[in-house]
């Protein structure tokens, strides 16, 4: 009887399926990762609402203002202690937007206010923006599934 000669040496598994899967996973996580999170402040508890939907198309220019429970405004890494001294930040942002060719009414102010903050304070922040001729506002809420 004739036997096939067995190859001697190290037994090597086929790595192709594993690499395929791993690349798939990397691609998945790369696509899902969201770098726009930087402008969101973690400490803020947004109010819940089931009707608010994410905007269908992003605004041409947005200013994200995080209004914390203690009345301070977080803009990116910057902390503005009081709503009343927000003007320089707004002026700077408006200048940047206009340099990019975005007209004033198209600038969208996104207000991420904490659920426990005074309504009047949110309004004061909006009025400060209004003083700079900004007129499009979005009140950001967390989508509740209940």
């Amino acid at each position: 009887m004739k036997f096939k000669k067995k190859k001697s040496g190290i037994l090597e598994g086929d790595l192709t399926p594993m690499i395929d899967m791993t690349f798939q996973l990397i691609a998945f996580f790369m696509l899902i990762i969201n770098f726009s999170e930087v402008e969101k402040s973690e400490e803020i508890n947004l109010p819940l609402s089931e009707l608010a939907k994410p905007p269908e198309e992003p605004p041409p220019y947005k200013i994200v203002l995080n209004l914390d429970e203690d009345g301070s405004v977080k803009f990116g890494p910057q902390i503005i202690e009081n709503v009343d001294i927000i003007k320089p930040v707004l002026t700077r942002e408006i200048t940047t937007a206009q340099r990019e060719g975005v007209a004033l009414p198209e600038i969208s102010v996104i207000i991420r206010a904490d659920r426990g903050v005074d309504t009047g304070l949110v309004q004061r922040l909006m009025n400060k923006c209004k003083d700079e001729q900004l007129e499009s506002f979005s009140l950001r809420v967390n989508e509740s599934l209940r």
């Binding site: 994410p54 005074d118 309504t119």
Partner: protein, 186 residues
């Protein structure tokens, strides 16, 4: 013909997989670690044109404005009562129960949120009893006048009640989309 140097064994190039797999796993771990599960965020849009371009409220335009007055409890800053005026209709609801816990508050059917359901039903009724055609509903504006100290989330629930509702099968029906704020009452 025999070609010299042609050796089948030697042609099989062996790829060194180990470094690639190392890097690939590093990448995978990085992306998994930075992945954050966050709830989706949505927006309520509010347009507040500069005061100069705003038309003054006349008797005629007042017809299409739903005035909502929010009164806060001075102690716990929750909503105490809502007064609404729409055309000739006026209505007022007191808060029956304040939310005891966050869970109680987040639950839409809890008694703490009856006041918002009342408002929602009023808006549905008021828009329906108008001229009847749905196109006119989009003409209606809402103006919110709130106490300064009112908790912001209460205002958001009021905006939610005014702007629409969700049917049982998950469809969103829009009511009033133009929402404005009046200066807060200090």
């Amino acid at each position: 013909m025999k070609i010299r140097g042609y050796d089948k064994e030697a042609e099989e190039v062996k790829l060194e997989m180990t470094p690639m797999i190392d890097i690939v796993f590093q990448l995978l771990v990085f992306f998994i670690m930075t992945y954050k599960v966050t709830a989706m965020e949505g927006d309520y849009n509010i347009r507040m044109p500069a005061a100069a371009s705003e038309p003054t409220l006349t008797e005629e335009t007042l017809e299409d404005v739903l005035m909502v007055r929010l009164v806060a409890d001075p102690g716990n800053r929750y909503l105490q009562s809502i007064n609404v005026t729409f055309g000739s209709q006026t209505e007022s609801w007191p808060r029956e129960q304040f939310p005891a816990t966050v869970e109680d508050y987040d639950n839409k059917t809890s008694p703490a949120r009856t006041i918002f359901r009342n408002l929602n039903n009023f808006v549905i009724g008021a828009l329906g009893s108008g001229s009847g055609d749905p196109a006119s509903a989009s003409e209606v504006e809402a103006e919110i006048e709130a106490d300064y100290g009112l908790r912001y989330e209460e205002t958001v629930y009021v905006i939610e009640a005014i702007s629409g509702y969700k049917t049982d099968d998950g469809k969103i029906v829009k009511l009033i989309e133009k929402i404005k704020f009046r200066d807060a009452v200090e």
